[in-house]
Symmetry: C3
Subunit: 356 residues, 3 copies
């Protein structure tokens, strides 16, 4: 077993772990093995001691990707309690970070108080922060706050996704030095949360409001996600400028998407016309994926690629038009989860026509 | 005749229709044929009953593209009356849509009233809406409103272009559910209209103001169009983030341009140094067209392409560097107008080196 | 000598001028020769008569690129006095331009007075202008002004870099008609100056503030430069939307970077993981350079390229993946400085597989 868990995110090939029926049902003893056998990357010392079992499980030991995109793959009851504790702690941790930041930069006191410390929950702080960012002369922040807090209170799953995204950004982006910084300032994170709210409104038939939020997000953050798009948990939109996601796109869990990525449609007919992105996928900067094509779980798409056809699970597609590393017939399989390693370039040596 | 008008936008090869002297002079009887023989796509039921003859004519029957880019190709007197009626109706329709939206979302009442219903004409609503969006602490919205309404009142052709763009967006973008939504929220549409005003100021010698508007549009909408650029009617800038259009670029009529498209220059000498885009062209997301090169009428440029040389009319160029489908000597000719079909991907099967 | 100075920016191969020990030590007599022997491009008549010797020297006669990136390559004492005079004159010139603009457009009086004429120095005007642009409801412009003016006053080198950037934009961008227009409106210029301030704060241990500025700049200008990145003088960020520069990136002097360019990392480990861009480099629109790779002095990267490996000095890399013009073994060498010529397309005829 120990050779499997090498301390960086990777696929497990142990058949018993990848049962198609319930790929995530692991005995606790195996989970413990996963956590303690991680060698090369131990959890940072200054990381909050929250949610560690679940967290490391996802990071190091995720046994396989489900073949279907689900909105809630980590749903075992045995994990649920720890998850909730972790989520509770996350808000406490963020308030501590805010206080520490104020100590370092007193000129930011009023900013941190009004944005974080004045609020009794992450839901309220998020509703307030997004309302401040997205309000305009025609659309007051109180109107938006009431709208946002209503949605966030109504659906407890939504704030779980918010927290999973916070954990994902902090874990995967070396430039992210604290949760509170991501929460306050990362426009990819904020655009994703505004989308989650817009998506709920869309599903509840409040399309006009949902589309209005989409457009404000596009103006304020330069991120254009149609409210109809389905997006999983644990999402990193890194840098985020120029991201476009179409109405019938689906994005799985634990996906990392860089800036200027398009998940676009083709033609002007309505209906299912946008890409389906599996779990654990990494999509490099400036890439276009067009049409109702599937990017399999754990696939990696290199920067600047143009993808117009299906990409199988755990393979790497690069170039314009995109081709599979190793060739169409026998593509090379990734043994790590690319969205978690954020490794954009290790395929170079195998990209045969790269001749510089 | 009926085999020519297949109900989706296409080129006509009937020689009598494509006389180089007056390509748009069609007898009314033929126009009627065009409209009624459209088979596969009938006009949506809930579409305003305005301007239909002209509209369908453009959509289904445009017999050919003029060889020269003109700012007003549909200039027959017989069409003019209907056009004006359609335009009048468009504003009435938009106010109806606004009222319907208020019924659905009363919290948006003041937004819709101040943006749409309080104004007696589309010109005034547009001047107000752009002024609100583009104003800053140093540049009040009243200053901008006075400036914009002056330009819009002075040149009646300008508002015709605005209306042609509204029709274009609604027709080509499946995500556009009403005219009023496009008018209020689509940053590509708003950036294009701000450019139309800036271009008038530029041509009238008010360069400082024109450039100031360009820069505010770049900040607010992330769309950077030099006020010197000439842009025709019926333009769709879809998503629009990152679009850059240089000073001496020319864009024809009925063109669809996706986000992150650059029509850029090369070198630092002044003079004519930017691309010339023909009528009916479709340019996919993330494409760069650089230098004073011509993209022929009805050409299609695939997403993520880099185009540095001329692209003949009705051909498809893809890749980096861009190549013609079918080869340079005998490129495959498109039989439909790509800017209207918005078909970005049907060339896949013919792109010989696409091997996934 | 005269054959060397052909009036457009170029490399000199004269050994005596390119001594590795002090490549910039030129006798004044040679500088004068440089200026007067420029043939094909004479300085525009309406250009301010400031700083001409230094300016033309840099433009026409830069003998070679230093092998190492330095923050201050033009450091000879003989040039310093003239430089300072030029810088002093630049602010005077900008105030004259502002007055002239007010004469032409009286409705902009209050804008120009509050932004330019009310300030006693460029430092104060810049601190004010950036504070107005980057302030938000939570972060007042007075807080930001105090912060910015403190940094600008504390480090006199910083304002020298600001001025070098102003000269660079005016010289290289044909669309830039005056210094004051660049100063007030070019978001690439403003984002770069905000970065210079954020970088000082970062180096002084004020990381929270530095990161906050980075994120505001990303929201307001759609330019995302990590405050840790090192950027030289004489930088042009043209159009600028979508530019992303990572924490450990280094950009040399006299570099021109178009919009949607990424200097990105790979992997999620900390440490030196971003590109190193030499002096005089030109990077075309939409290009991704990923990983800790070096782009040599005077290299040119074509638009839409994906660069994952080192590019030698004075060579041209194009395509996805990028390849060297002339081949890896014997790449063609540029004889002009690409960041100054801004020539994006003259490599076409030599790009062998470009077959349109």
């Amino acid at each position: 077993m120990s050779t499997i868990f090498l301390g960086s995110p990777q696929f497990s090939y142990t058949p018993s772990l990848s049962s198609p029926k319930n790929p995530f049902k692991l005995p606790i003893s195996i989970m413990a093995t996963c956590i303690h056998s991680s060698r090369t990357k131990s959890p940072p010392k200054n990381k909050p001691q929250i949610n560690n079992n679940v967290y490391n499980y996802v990071k190091y030991c995720q046994p396989n990707f489900p073949n279907l995109i689900t909105s809630n793959p980590f749903s075992q009851k045995s994990l649920k309690v720890e998850e909730e504790e972790g989520e509770e702690n996350l808000w406490v941790k963020m308030k501590d970070e805010a206080k520490s930041d104020i100590d370092q930069e007193p000129i930011l006191s009023s900013y941190y108080v009004s944005s974080i410390l004045a609020h009794e929950s992450m839901e309220r702080a998020l509703a307030n922060h997004l309302a401040m960012k997205l309000s305009s002369s025609n659309l007051t922040n109180t109107t938006l706050y009431d709208l946002f807090i209503g949605v966030l209170t109504d659906d407890q799953d939504l704030i779980k996704s918010v927290k999973a995204d916070l954990l994902a950004v902090k874990e995967r982006d070396p430039a992210c030095i604290s949760y509170v910084r991501c929460f306050l300032n990362f426009k990819g994170f904020l655009a994703c949360q505004a989308h989650r709210i817009a998506n709920k409104l869309w599903l509840n038939g409040r399309k006009i409001l949902a589309l209005l939020i989409q457009n404000r997000v596009s103006e304020v953050f330069a991120v254009d996600i149609h409210p109809g798009a389905k997006i999983g948990k644990g999402i990193l939109l890194d840098h985020a400028t120029g991201v476009v996601v179409g109405e019938t796109a689906v994005i799985g869990n634990d996906v990392s998407i860089l800036h200027n990525v398009t998940l676009g449609g083709t033609g002007k007919m309505c209906g299912d016309r946008h890409p389906k992105i599996g779990d654990g996928v990494l999509i490099g900067a400036g890439t276009c994926v067009l049409g109702n094509v599937r990017i399999g779980d754990g696939a990696k798409i290199g920067a600047g690629s143009v993808v117009l056809k299906e990409v199988p699970a755990r393979t790497t597609a690069v170039g314009n038009p995109a081709r599979l590393l190793g060739g169409k017939e026998n593509p090379k399989r990734l043994d790590k989860i690319p969205s978690l390693t954020m490794d954009h370039t290790s395929h170079i040596s195998e990209w045969s026509d790269y001749v510089i």
